[in-house]
């Protein structure tokens, strides 16, 4: 478990973020209404909220997959508003790892090659160092034996583990996980969640996990609740903190 108190460096900072769709039309809809949020190094936070509350939109903005209508967004201290598409892509590849509900592994590639993919896309040419890094990550998620299997030959839980290893390939400061266990049975879901916590503890990677699953949210250090495009609650999960104190 990361020591939140000592991890002070913000990996993510949102200042008064607004996001509207259909701007200037009769159907203009404001989805995010002034979001202020800071995620520090090593934090393990859950983002919860009902459907339509703006969770996915917020995740897209934080993941640099979309741009805010107004407000400022900093990733690893870098202001992102003025960056062009290529710079945003590079920053995203460097600083942010993604884990989705579905693993979205590339079915044309083996487990190992899938883990290598972010490194390959960034550096251009494959290398032995990439392979070593990917092997180490596959070992970390317990799938070293499955390295040469095609993505389609793995079970849902295994695919999600490979996706986590892939998200870690670039050693990002933050991982955005969108319902990472939503597509798994309870046992596999627990295994994957434990893995996320382990990565957080060992590598100090910050996590922001979007989930509907309150059981999962209760196992995070911090719970951020979004309703109608506003953060209505953002507090440490006392249950977990208390549990840690006892340990």
């Amino acid at each position: 478990m990361a020591d939140i108190a000592s991890a002070v460096k913000p990996v993510l900072q949102l200042v008064n973020i607004h996001k509207s769709y259909g701007t200037g039309t009769r159907v203009e809809q404001e989805v995010l209404r002034g979001i202020d949020l800071v995620l520090r190094k090593g934090e393990f936070a859950a983002l919860i909220g009902p459907s339509g509350s703006g969770k996915s939109t917020l995740l897209n903005l934080i993941g640099l997959l979309d741009r805010a209508s107004s407000g400022q967004l900093f990733i690893d201290g870098e202001k992102t508003g003025a960056l062009d598409d290529t710079s945003l892509t590079r920053l995203r590849g460097r600083s942010i790892g993604f884990v989705f509900q579905h693993s979205y592994l590339l079915e044309e590639f083996t487990a190992l090659e899938n883990v290598m993919m972010p490194l390959l896309a960034t550096h251009g040419w494959p290398s032995e160092a990439m392979r070593t890094t990917a092997l180490e990550l596959l070992g970390r998620v317990g799938l070293e034996r499955w390295k040469d299997h095609m993505a389609t030959e793995l079970s849902g839980g295994q695919q999600q583990r490979v996706a986590i290893a892939r998200a870690l390939a670039m050693k990002p400061s933050m991982i955005l996980a969108d319902e990472p266990t939503g597509n798994l049975d309870t046992r596999s879901a627990d295994g994957v969640f434990d893995l996320l916590r382990e990565v957080n503890a060992r590598l100090g990677t910050s996590f922001l996990i979007v989930t509907h699953d309150t059981r999962l949210a209760r196992r995070c250090d911090r719970i951020i609740e979004l309703v109608d495009g506003r953060i209505v609650s953002d507090q440490p999960n006392l249950q977990v903190v208390r549990h840690e104190a006892v340990e």
């Binding site: 996915s56 897209n60 993941g63 997959l65 979309d66 598409d85 290529t86 892509t89 590079r90 995203r92 590849g93 460097r94 790892g97 993604f98 989705f100 979205y104 590339l106 079915e107 044309e108 590639f109 090659e113 290598m116 993919m117 972010p118 390959l120 896309a121 960034t122 251009g124 040419w125 494959p126 290398s127 032995e128 892939r166 670039m170």
Partner: protein, 408 residues
């Protein structure tokens, strides 16, 4: 993962391998298209060069003759109004005025490869009781043979036209019953007869030419046709036969003589050749377009099928340019592989054609030469078409909004 390939090539080849059936189908389509283009082009080039060769075998590309005699009404004095019928003048055999100067002038033109003076006129060839009307052609062998490949057409004897020698066609030889070494009487339409020895017999593969043309030395023809020191025409060949008309017009402006190119004298033939070339180009264009549409449609489907994967690649740091290249490479590779197979298939078709299209005596109907250049052009062309046809799907893939693509 091949460590000698960059990311884009690795992704492109894996995508193609993954959709193997689609890839093979479109490669087959491109291959068929290229094979048709290669086969048709080689066939048409062979056919045209054969027709072209046959047409220009026995005639120079450009012929310069003296201007025609025209009857002019008398001038001067009071104009007299009368109903007169102006008869065109009969054309007597005349020499090209100052032909040596004209020849030297033409020889200096860069596009001209050979020039020769010719004396040509009507006459009779006789042996015993048999006689035939012929066209007496007096030549300077050295320069004439650079224009008309008469030596290659000799089927008996040899190509020699000294003062006492004559070269005749196989048809005339048969009609008069002469062979090499026999004597032949040659007389102009009006004038003294001369006896010559047949030194060679030619076969142009054209009954009319074989029965009518006889070749003698320039001096012999000059004296027989009463053109002492003169020539009835100057004939020449140029580097590019298809530009003969341009050169002919240049010569006309410089000399004021009547200049005819083979293009105007064989207008129908030339039009037919142009129409053939045009229709071939049309077919090439539409075959190319079909292949391009095939590649584009396969890639459009691929972009739709792989939109989630593209979104993920974008999310993990792949730039728009990289995605663009992944799809352009796929188009290019499909075009390249298709064209290589297509070239091979085209070569097979051509060899099959060579086996089928034969004369009754077993010789080739006409020579088809599949030049390496044709295969190289087809390969480069198909690869370019592949890349170009991939442009639209590739742009679409590159512009996919990763957030939308991932969520579907």
């Amino acid at each position: 993962m091949n460590r000698y390939l960059p990311f884009e090539w690795i992704a492109a080849t894996r995508f193609m391998r993954n959709g193997l059936m689609q890839t093979l189908l479109i490669i087959s389509g491109v291959a068929l298209g290229v094979s048709v283009i290669v086969f048709m082009s080689a066939l048409l080039t062979g056919l045209q060069s054969n027709l072209f060769r046959r047409t220009l075998d026995y005639q120079a590309q450009i012929v310069i003759i003296p201007p025609e005699d025209v009857a002019r009404p008398l001038r001067g004095g009071e104009p007299v109004a009368e109903a007169a019928i102006l008869q065109p003048r009969s054309q007597r055999l005349r020499s090209v005025d100052q032909w040596q100067k004209v020849r030297d002038l033409i020889r200096r033109m860069p596009e001209v490869v050979a020039v020769t003076p010719v004396v040509s006129g009507p006459g009779f060839a006789a042996r015993g009781d048999a006689s035939r009307a012929v066209n007496i052609t007096g030549i300077e062998p050295d320069s004439y043979l650079r224009i008309i490949a008469l030596r290659d057409k000799i089927v008996a004897g040899h190509m020699s036209v000294s003062n006492a020698e004559i070269v005749i066609g196989i048809e005339l030889a048969s009609d008069l019953g002469v062979k090499v070494g026999d004597k032949l009487s040659l007389s102009p339409a009006s004038g003294a007869m001369q006896t010559l020895i047949v030194s060679g017999i030619f076969d142009f593969g054209n009954k009319g030419i074989n029965g009518r043309n006889v070749y003698v030395a320039l001096r012999v023809a000059q004296s027989m046709l009463d053109l002492a020191g003169g020539v009835s025409s100057i004939e020449l060949n140029v580097r590019d036969p298809f530009l003969a008309e341009t050169t002919a017009q240049q010569i006309t402006t410089q000399t004021n003589l009547q200049v005819d190119s083979w293009i105007t004298t064989n207008a129908q033939f030339f039009t037919a050749m142009s129409a053939q070339t045009l229709s071939n180009n049309f077919i090439r264009f539409f075959v190319g377009l079909t292949a391009a549409l095939g590649i584009a449609s396969v890639l459009v489907v691929s972009v739709v099928q792989k939109s989630k994967e593209i979104g993920i690649l974008r999310a993990m740091g792949t730039t728009q340019q990289q995605i663009l290249r992944v799809f352009l490479i796929q188009g290019g590779v499909m075009g390249l592989i298709g064209s290589l197979f297509g070239s091979a298939l085209g070569a097979v078709f051509l060899s099959f054609w060579r086996g089928v299209a034969k004369n009754p005596d077993g010789t080739q109907m006409f020579a088809i030469t599949a030049e390496p250049r044709l295969f190289v052009i087809a390969t480069i062309g198909a690869t370019l078409i592949g890349v170009l046809s991939a442009a639209a799907p590739a742009r679409r893939a590159a512009r996919l909004d990763p957030a939308v693509a991932i969520r579907g």
